[in-house]
Amino acid sequence: MIRLLSTLPTALVALGLAACGGASPAEGEGDPGSAAAAAEGEGYGDRATSSRGTFVAEVTSAAPIPLNEPFAVRLALVDPESGERFEDYDEVTIDARMPAHQHGMLRDVELEPSADGALVAEGLLFHMVGHWEIHVDVRRGARVERAQLDVELEF
């Protein structure tokens, strides 16, 4: 399920990510802004169209999503018709859950704008192996609409 998105902007690779050295629950304390902290190997990338086709969410991470280590993702919202950046919304959030175990992440993550206009969330952490859903929820007025991506976390 972990796929590399072929259309990824190359600038992403330089995006700083949390260190994911040892799989110790104490977490690495490496500088999350350091490009050198990005691990080797294929990163994560996936895209999903929202349930009503209003937007496309591209979620990418320069390193593979680690087990029980914090990681950062970049979120780009795209207009499915024009291919331009999708900006017609009031609020966007990102979260993740393990539906089979009926729990989510144990932390709240916030999306911060990055210099290139995309959004970056740091400090996501998947503490169990198995199927995780990443939820990108966009609110426009009274309505909230979801794009859902799937991660099968193995180790």
């Binding site: 349930s51 009503r52 959030t93 979260d95 859950r97 539906p99 089979a100 009926q102 199927h131 939820h135 929820d137 007025g141 009274a142 309505r143 909230v144 609409e145 979801r146 859902q148």
Partner: protein, 657 residues
């Protein structure tokens, strides 16, 4: 009128309680049950310094139209003094009845120092005052969202302001998500809890340790109790959703005594007492709790079943709680010790987990039920005789894919489309279900994908929108989703993109009533295959058929008293009648009129007997599922109404087998 009584002798007599005054005691020893009250929902005792007998228990009853205990809505007053052993088995005489002929669906009651009685009525969106001695009743508040107006008021309390000597009246204004405080002397209203509470189910005055008066508001959506100063300052709160000690599951009643706030923790079937102190960082700390869920149907004598309200006599000698589903009030007195001894039953049975909420929906071979305790929607496969649960959708919370008090479900597209309403978020949510009717029966914890949702208050501009029921109407010119607003008795019609198409008034509230419509107590709805909508007029005792513009086309249901759930397939319509414990079946004739075909039911646990039947749903093969809410089970009938099966917890389904 005489109501029945059962008596236990486990607790302290008043004399014993007095003798052991220096030793710590607590409230919570079961002493007796007052039975035969018709859906008692709220209780109150008079204040200590008032003119009324301190043990004169005022019980708000919503009434019933059946059987030997048939009675109208109102307030009955009974003597709830702790009994002495020689009282054993005696009936409790009703000392007085109040508000009969005025009240329609009382929700809360309070007694002031002069013996005057304050009552909230959510069908009328009203606060009533009944002076002592039988003077003329006065309606204090009308429906609305401005100051001094109410929508679906849920509770009332009264106390004397220690600073001014004025009587203060506190109303849980559920639809407007606030409490309102009326200074009777100044006739001035103030709102409390705006932005803090989502679903105020109860409001009560509580004395602080320093002698000042606090306001406690139970929030049924957040499962908390919020505490405010009289000036509206939020000083903190306690509770959170769950079943473990100190957590709450839909708190619906509050009372104060001994420095504690007693909470009717309704869906945990217990009373929890919290020591409330604004100076404490936690504000409320669990002091003790009592009550276990009834094991067998009708179990009482200290076993609790959805306690809805709680009151403590001013001398703190007796605590009363209402259990509307079981038509009874139970009384508890003081017992030695700072807290009750742990009930071994509690550890062995654990928290309840097998209840079904009122709504039910079906499509294809699939059935959706609601678990009120978990706030989850359960999906069942009904290809066999009995439903097999294959998945759960939604969890508790406020994000998309989460629910706080699901109030309605609708299933369509052969089980692939799920619509759900929830009270706490006041939201319509949609999910697609990856059902596979052609593959072998299998469980799939990831069946549901949550797609979108809409905030109904923001969508309609109705600040007191309280979602009730939902249905999708299939039409050639485009489907509509119909959502009822219990707060304004209106129906919002949404397009497939969840945009508002129109918002149709069914009553004089909040808009011009359409000709021929005058629904009060809007309940279930069902779409017909002709693109029309059947609307249950819960208090009017009938069903209306309306088109998508809201025009009334037909009205039927002379047999009905308190209709609740409705389902339609082809020309056939099924309606549940909540208080009559019956199901009625109708057929539509070619001329558009409806004729009663047959009906069945009656209170009981046997086949085709019910205890407050609510939701009803029809499967693709014609089988009909009736959600027998008070019996924690569902019953399945064939198209003609013959019993074919049941499901639910073992003890409640034994007589079906």
């Amino acid at each position: 009128m005489i109501v029945g009584l059962a008596l236990a002798h486990a607790a302290l007599t008043p004399m014993q309680a007095q003798a052991s005054a220096t030793e710590p005691t607590h409230l919570g020893a079961y002493v007796r049950t007052i039975e035969g009250l018709a859906r008692p929902v709220a209780v109150a005792f008079p204040p200590a310094d008032g003119d009324s007998e301190v043990h004169g228990l005022h019980v708000a009853v919503q009434g019933a139209l059946r059987g030997e205990f048939a009675s109208p809505p109102g307030v009955v007053v009974v003597d709830a003094a702790p009994p002495s052993p020689e009282d054993g088995g005696a009936d409790v005489p009703v000392a007085a009845t109040i508000g009969v002929g005025v009240l329609e669906r009382p929700t809360g009651v309070a007694v002031d120092g002069s013996g005057g009685v304050w009552v909230t009525d959510d069908l009328q969106h009203a606060l009533w005052y009944f002076p002592a001695g039988g003077g003329a009743a006065r309606r204090i508040a009308e429906r609305g969202s401005a100051g001094g107006e109410l929508v679906l008021p849920a509770d009332v309390d009264v106390a004397r302001d220690p600073a001014t000597g004025n009587d203060l009246v506190l109303v849980a204004d559920a639809g407007n998500a606030r409490a309102q405080l009326l200074d009777v002397g100044a006739t001035a209203w103030a709102s409390i809890g705006v932005g803090v509470v989502d679903e105020p189910t109860s409001a009560s005055f509580a004395p602080a340790p320093d002698g000042t008066l606090l306001v406690a508001i139970a929030d049924g959506a957040r499962h908390r109790v919020e505490v405010f100063a009289l000036d509206g300052t939020h000083v903190g709160g306690f509770g959170d959703w769950g079943g473990f000690p100190s957590l709450l599951s839909t708190p619906t009643g509050l009372a104060s005594a001994d420095g504690n706030v007693f909470v009717a923790d309704s869906e945990n079937h217990r009373i929890q007492a919290f020591r409330v102190d604004p100076e404490d960082r936690r504000v409320g700390r669990l002091a003790y709790r009592f009550g276990v869920h009834a094991i067998r149907p009708g179990d009482g004598a200290g076993s609790l079943h959805y306690p809805s309200d709680v009151a403590v006599a001013a001398d703190a000698s007796v605590l009363a709680l209402t259990e509307p589903l079981d038509d009874r009030v139970q009384l508890f007195v003081r017992a030695p010790g700072a807290e009750p001894e742990e009930d071994p039953l509690r550890a062995s049975i654990g928290p309840p987990a097998a209840h079904f909420g009122p709504p039910v929906a079906a499509s294809g071979i699939y059935l959706a039920t609601v678990s009120p305790e978990s706030h989850r929607v359960q999906i069942h496969d009904l290809r066999l005789d009995e439903p097999v649960r294959i998945s759960e959708a939604y969890v508790y919370g406020d994000r998309l894919g989460m629910m706080r008090g699901p109030s309605a479900v609708w299933l369509g597209a052969d089980g692939r489309e799920l619509l759900t309403l929830d009270r706490g978020n006041r939201r319509l949510s949609r999910a697609v279900l990856d059902v596979r009717p052609d593959e072998p029966l299998a469980q799939d914890p990831e069946l549901a994908q949550h797609t979108d949702a809409v905030d109904l208050r923001a969508l309609t501009g109705e600040p007191a929108f309280v979602p009730g029921a939902v249905a999708r109407i299939r039409r050639e010119e485009g489907d509509l989703v119909a959502v009822t607003d219990r707060g304004s008795e209106r129906i919002a019609f949404l397009d497939d993109d969840l945009q508002l198409v129109r918002f149709v008034a069914c009553s004089g509230h909040g808009g011009d009533p359409l000709p021929g419509i005058g629904v009060r107590g809007i309940d279930g709805i069902a779409a017909t295959d002709r693109g029309t909508l059947l609307v249950v007029d819960g208090a009017g005792g009938r069903v209306l058929e309306v088109d998508a513009e809201g025009r009334a086309l037909a009205s039927f249901g002379d047999e009905l008293s308190t209709p609740s759930g409705i389902a339609a397939a082809g020309a056939r319509v099924w309606v549940t009648d909540r208080l009559r414990d019956r199901v009625e079946i109708y057929d539509r004739a070619d001329d558009g009129t409806y004729a009663h075909v047959r009906g069945f039911g009656g209170r009981g646990l046997g086949r085709a007997e019910f205890h407050g039947p609510r939701g009803v749903a029809i499967l693709a093969d014609g089988r009909v599922v009736v959600l027998d809410h008070g019996n924690h089970r569902g019953q399945i009938f064939d198209r003609e109404g013959n019993f074919v099966g049941g499901f639910g917890s073992r003890l409640y389904t034994a007589e079906l087998r």
